[in-house]
């Protein structure tokens, strides 16, 4: 058993953002999010340094680092690699013990992770077919509309007439959006339509994996208040949203690092 003073870190190398959480037995010491660069290892080192900056903690003080996310294999300074599904499950178990499933809307893929009674990952499903249910898709649409990413959620809430999108391919929807813009449709209506389309894909994943009970939303997509509302409308189950959904996988990774030290 370790003393609470030991530091561990979780690093989540997503395709759009790199996230780090540093904690010890008393709580979270620091966290940081940076846009993912082209070189995973460079970005990983950068985000790690940024997280440690002004904390008085050095790299050498950290007893264990767990890496997760698409670029996890590139984080050569990590002690262990764990899938982001396991990290999300570990996080949810700690923060929302009564939850039965995590819906993770990342940049690269959307996942539903079903938990058992003990909060362990039981099953998962991902949208392997198509990008139109992903966070990355939102980034593309925000760019096309010229709206900063952080503003698309609040803007979409102003919609009075949701535009319907029928295409299931992200690239084709992008051109459909451009056509709607040319037709002078309002940005908020287009965004509300895009959110509804992603929410339908999320709901379909939830149906396919047959998860029930309390669901918790995680991943960068959950920062979008418009998308969250759309998903709530489509799902029949209670939905919890954490304060910092983008950090959940990194936090879960840090918990797993901590668990690993306790077992040693």
């Amino acid at each position: 058993m370790l003393s609470n003073g030991f530091y561990v870190a979780g690093i989540d190398m997503g395709t759009a953002f790199a996230k780090v959480v540093v904690l010890n037995g008393y709580g979270i010491i620091s966290s940081r999010v940076l846009p993912a660069g082209k070189n995973y290892l460079e970005t990983a080192e950068k985000v790690m340094q940024a997280a440690l900056n002004k904390t008085g903690v050095n790299m050498t003080d950290i007893a264990s680092i767990v890496a997760t996310g698409n670029g996890a294999a590139n984080v050569s300074f990590a002690c262990q690699q764990v899938s982001d599904m396991s990290c999300q499950a570990r996080w949810a178990r700690h923060v929302f013990p009564s939850t039965m499933a995590v819906i993770d809307i990342g940049s690269q893929s959307t996942k539903v992770i079903k938990l058992d009674e003990q909060g362990r990952m039981k099953e998962f499903i991902t949208n392997e077919k198509c990008a139109a249910g992903n966070g990355r898709f939102l980034q593309v649409i925000a760019y096309v509309l010229g709206v900063p990413l952080d503003e698309i959620g609040p803007l979409s809430l102003k919609s009075e007439k949701v535009v319907k999108f029928t295409n299931s391919c992200a690239v084709f929807v992008e051109s459909e959006v451009i056509s709607r813009v040319a037709e002078q449709q309002k940005k908020e209506d287009i965004l509300a339509g895009v959110h509804a389309s992603i929410a339908a894909k999320v709901a379909s994943l939830v149906q396919r994996i047959r998860s029930e009970g309390k669901h918790v939303l995680a991943g960068g997509g959950a920062r979008n208040i418009g998308l969250v509302r759309s998903i709530k409308e489509k799902l029949d189950c209670p939905l919890l949203v954490p304060d910092e959904p983008q950090l959940t996988a990194a936090l879960g990774a840090a918990f797993i690092a901590w668990d690993g030290l306790q077992q040693e």
Binding site: N70, A73, Q80, Q81, V82, S83, D84, M85, S86, A89, R90, Q108, S109, R120, M121, K122, E123, F124, T126, E128, I256, D259, G260, Q263
Partner: protein, 379 residues
Amino acid sequence: MDKLLNKFASIAVNLYPRLIQWKKETGKKIIGCFPMYIPEEIIHASGMLPITLLGSDDELTLADQYVHPYICQLVRGNFGLSLKGELDFLDGIIFSDFCLTVQMISDIWIYHKPGGFYHQLILPKNMSASHTKRYILQQFNGLKKTLEKLSGRDISESSLKKSISIYNENRKLLHRLYQVRRANPCLFRARDMATVVAAGMLMFKEEHNMLLSELLYHASKAIPLSDGKVRLILSGYLCDMPELDVLDLLEELGAVVIDDDLYVGRRYFHTLTDESINPMEALVERFVEDVPCPTKLNQKRDWADYLSDLVKEAKADGLVSVALKYCEAHQYDFPVLDTSLSQGGVPNLMIESSHRGATGQLRTRIQAFLETLGGRDGN
């Protein structure tokens, strides 16, 4: 043993240049067979070499000019090779109609590559109707007649029996090799097993039997390796070569494949042909009684039960099932297979392969699945 395994791999990967050379040297005829259920023994008994057409991973093929984009890589690959002239060394091609794509491609193929020797084997879907076996026998007899004409040689009952016996010997050797693998799974990489089986699809079985005996001799002497890995049954790739990158990925992430339900694997050799009855009827029986397949209806055994038994017998931790992209027959079966296996307590992961390399997303899904089976995380 590594040298031997490399030999199998070079035969399986080299595909056709070796065969073209072989044909020059021996003067024998070679017949290309579409997977999965052509009774190769009849071709063998005619003195010709049956080989299985396992496609090609070429992304850009001439086939794209003639077929729609949603057909599988096996058919696209084979047709592309043919259009490029790389199958011109074959003395004949036998098509079967086990799925709609193969059924349709034969006409398109013959239209664009006229003049070759082609035979279309039309087999039934229903395995338990009163006329099923009679009908298959007619089809097999038709194939036999065609082959006799092509080879200029009558296929006697005794020569067919001899071929069946050689094929059974091949299957028994592979069964023994798979037993060794179950007992000592880390001895072989999954890609080794696939190329060992694939090599047999591209050479006379007599020669393959000799190589297999040698491999078995070395393998049974090997020291057992301890593993601590997640023990998997790999199912799928029902009519194509498994994607070797995907097999490597499973191992890299901490799994070991201890047995399989792959076409280029157990599915190809599992069922023996009965040597005590009339040989043509025995081949019909083998077709009907073979391992469960989504292209066959009303088989005695249910696929999910068959797989559950395989998992239990081999004491596996779970099952990964891989469907070839655009394989409708297989993917229609996925939901019911998933439900039946899960209800039977068999953890399983269903994935799709397009023969385009292992993506990051696939890596994450496999990693997470192995973690649910008690693999490498601390969860």
